[in-house]
């Protein structure tokens, strides 16, 4: 069903088509429209049976998902930013317990300074939580990925995070072909838990494990992630058979065939990147794009296969590891130890990633670590100030004052 629809609403409809039985919600921008839409669907009895829990925090939301999933229900929640971090303890727990929870992360920066706009600092911070992480390029893909996420999660008994860019996708109206419920019913078998809290067959879930078996238990989680590397493309293919369109998978190439330079990126920025690449192709540059959908598990082999011929790789990232640099780049470097890899950190806290800036950065050989559009002068002034006064202080406020004064 083709509709002009807000991204959040599209995701809510796609989630509803998967028939979750328990939805836990705690508001945080830019995720709110998703859980609001689901609450309307539940109260209008368009999604039954479904329990909608208004909980008191994200920590409780994920905890209730854990309980409900262990009791055999298909569950859903959504969050972003501070909310995702507030869940951290429960996130590791959910994956450790092997519970197939599906969650949307409407990506947003993490404070301080507090900032509600989009980047990937939140989900990237949970990189090692044991959750599968899929990144949507468009709202169509966001909707489709949720259907695939349930199939994947339940097949492997692993939790899956579907990441979509806050505001840029969640609040954008686009044409989306919504996955119809009947089709989803045919695609997604009912949830059959591997282990369930059932008085007829009592089990103890979440027992204490000492050094004698802890490595093995953690390895099993890793092993299932490795299985996901096969299952993700397979599920994307069967989704294509069932719904007639391609979305998901591990990593997709765009004009990479003969490319000597490839820009690898994730999420909604890919649209801009593709435009820039088209323009550079027009100027005769042999350049292409790698669109990474699956960040965890990291598809090393698929990345190597797609980018092995490239001489130069530019990884465009919407988050970074403070004191180190690129997060995704580190994995790309592991996949392609011989390649020249540059990291471009872009669009932090919602700063637009413009075509002009991308052209600038791609015109020359990029530095190993570039912060796109960084105002070096502004930073330099604050660094000088803090060196002089040797005390911590309101750096952000100082810089805003400089900016205002400088204009």
């Amino acid at each position: 069903m083709l509709r002009q629809i807000e991204g959040s609403q599209a995701v809510a409809e796609a989630v509803a088509a998967c028939r979750p039985e328990v939805v836990c919600a705690y508001p945080i921008s830019p995720q709110t429209h998703i859980v609001e839409a689901l609450s309307r669907l539940v109260s209008a009895k368009k999604l039954t049976p479904c329990e909608y829990l208004n909980v008191e925090s994200e920590f409780a939301a994920m905890s209730a998902c854990i309980g409900a999933s262990a009791a055999g229900a298909r569950v859903y929640t959504a969050t972003a930013s501070q909310g995702l971090l507030y869940m951290t303890e429960a996130l590791f727990n959910a994956s450790g317990l092997g519970l197939p929870i599906v969650m949307t992360v409407a990506n947003r920066a993490i404070g301080a300074p507090i900032n509600i706009w989009n980047d990937h600092s939140d989900s990237m911070s949970q990189r090692d939580s044991g959750w599968i992480q899929l990144y949507a390029e468009t709202n169509q893909e966001a909707a489709d990925l949720h259907v695939q996420a349930y199939a994947l999660a339940e097949e492997l008994s692993l939790p899956v995070m579907v990441c979509m860019d806050g505001f840029v996708l969640t609040h954008a109206f686009e044409r989306v072909d919504l996955p119809a419920r009947e089709r989803v019913d045919a695609f997604l078998p009912p949830y059959e838990p591997r282990q369930v809290l059932d008085p007829g067959d009592p089990v103890s879930i979440g027992a204490m494990v000492g050094p004698e078996a802890f490595t093995e238990v953690r390895y099993l989680l890793h092993a299932r992630h490795l299985q996901a590397l096969d299952r993700i493309p397979a599920i994307a293919r069967s989704f294509e058979d069932a719904f007639g369109r391609r979305s998901g998978g591990l990593v997709r190439g765009y004009r990479v065939q003969d490319a000597d330079t490839v820009v690898l990126a994730l999420g909604s920025v890919l649209g801009t990147v593709k435009d820039v690449v088209d323009e550079l192709r027009g100027q005769g540059r042999r350049i292409g794009v790698a669109a990474l959908t699956t960040f965890r598990p990291f598809p090393f082999a698929a990345v190597r296969e797609l980018l092995g011929r490239a001489r130069r790789i530019v990884v465009l990232e919407r988050a970074f590891s403070v004191g180190v640099g690129g997060i995704v780049s580190a994995d790309v470097r592991t996949a392609l130890p011989e390649a020249a890899i540059a990291t471009v950190v872009a669009g932090l806290g919602g700063r637009p990633v413009t075509k002009a800036a991308l052209h600038r950065v791609l015109a020359a050989e990029p530095e190993p670590l570039t912060f796109l559009d960084l105002d070096r002068e502004l930073v330099g002034r604050e660094l000088a100030r803090s060196a002089e006064r040797r005390r911590s202080g309101p750096a952000a406020e100082n810089m805003l004052r400089d900016l205002a004064g400088g204009n």
Partner: protein
């Protein structure tokens, strides 16, 4: 048959027997069909009040639910001593997730059962006082506020025992813990979670101790007759943390109630409906002297002023709840 309270008229000894009672009034533990929720062989310390309390509480809950029970556990002694992998002492479906989220996990289990239309399976959440009154408190309050169909049981041993006897929000004033060298919480500042639970006006709130297991069983049964959020706060002495003899667990629990320090009562929808009267009132001294965690009060010279303040809080409970006729 509805939960029944059995009155005993004790003479001399504190022992309470079943033999003279009709079968339906006998304790769950005395029944032939008793289901052992927590089997022997777990690793609790000798004389652990929490192990005893949990076994009686969960056995009574199993019996009241006809064996259709799911238990959710917070991190803490009860979880650690009962499930060292690959062993488990639990005979009910049981899940442990984290220290601070047992009420929310239980809410999730209840929601899943509701969504699946399963009405006969009941949910019990449980944790120590730390998991309940401190770190899990927001989740507990949220569960109360939504009136989720969960019986939550707090096993109150008045400190974080599992991590080595540090203070909790339920540690009483003047009790020594490993993080309160100036001992105990401030007078009058303790967190009284049964009262806070009552303020949520949930269907049922009660307190109990392991000194009166019959009363404890009755309260679990009563709670299981009701639906919605229910809270049971059980005083469970801990020989390790309280520095008592293993054989004194029941005795100190009894002295806690008979001194008035731990009022035993029931409340429905925010109103107290029943209190257990003190039959033989004792000074707080009798209770305090048995425990190493209060030893500093009885040095030379004794801290009479502190003891008097403890006595005053016991007297206040007695007045407030009408514990003495």
């Amino acid at each position: 048959m509805p939960a029944q309270r059995t009155k005993f008229y004790q003479v001399g000894s504190f022992a309470v027997g079943n033999r003279l009672l009709p079968i339906e009034q006998r304790a769950v533990q005395a029944g032939m069909e008793r289901r052992n929720s927590l089997t022997s062989g777990h690793r609790a310390c000798r004389g652990c009040g929490e192990a005893l309390g949990a076994r009686y509480a969960i056995d009574a809950a199993i019996s009241a639910s006809g064996g259709r029970l799911v238990a959710v556990n917070a991190t803490g002694c009860l979880e650690v001593f009962s499930t060292p992998y690959p062993e488990t002492s639990w005979q009910v479906p049981w899940i442990h997730s984290l220290f601070g989220n047992a009420p929310a996990v239980a809410s999730g289990v209840a929601a899943a059962l509701r969504a699946k239309g399963i009405t006969d399976v009941r949910v019990v959440g449980q944790g120590g006082d730390g998991g309940t009154v401190d770190i899990g408190f927001a989740c507990l309050s949220g569960m109360f506020e939504r009136d989720d169909d969960v019986l939550y049981i707090c096993y109150d041993n008045q400190a974080y025992m599992n991590t080595g006897v540090q203070r909790s929000g339920a540690t009483p004033p003047a009790a020594r813990t490993s993080t309160t060298p100036v001992p105990g919480n401030a007078f009058g500042q303790g967190k009284n979670v049964p009262m806070i639970a009552m303020a949520h006006e949930i269907p049922y709130v009660a307190t109990a101790t392991v000194a009166d297991l019959r009363d404890l069983e009755y309260k679990v049964r009563r709670a299981m007759e009701l639906r919605g959020a229910r809270y049971l706060h059980i005083l469970v002495p801990c020989p390790l943390g309280w520095v008592t003899e293993a054989c004194d667990t029941i005795r100190v629990a009894r002295l806690a109630t008979e001194s008035g320090l731990f009022p035993v009562f029931e409340a429905e929808r925010g109103e107290v409906t029943d209190v257990t009267k003190i039959r033989r009132r004792v000074p707080v001294d009798d209770y305090l002297r048995l425990q190493g965690r209060y030893r500093h009060l009885f040095g030379d010279p004794p801290q009479t002023e502190v003891i008097a303040r403890i006595q005053a809080s016991a007297d206040r409970n007695i007045r407030r709840f009408g514990l003495v006729d």
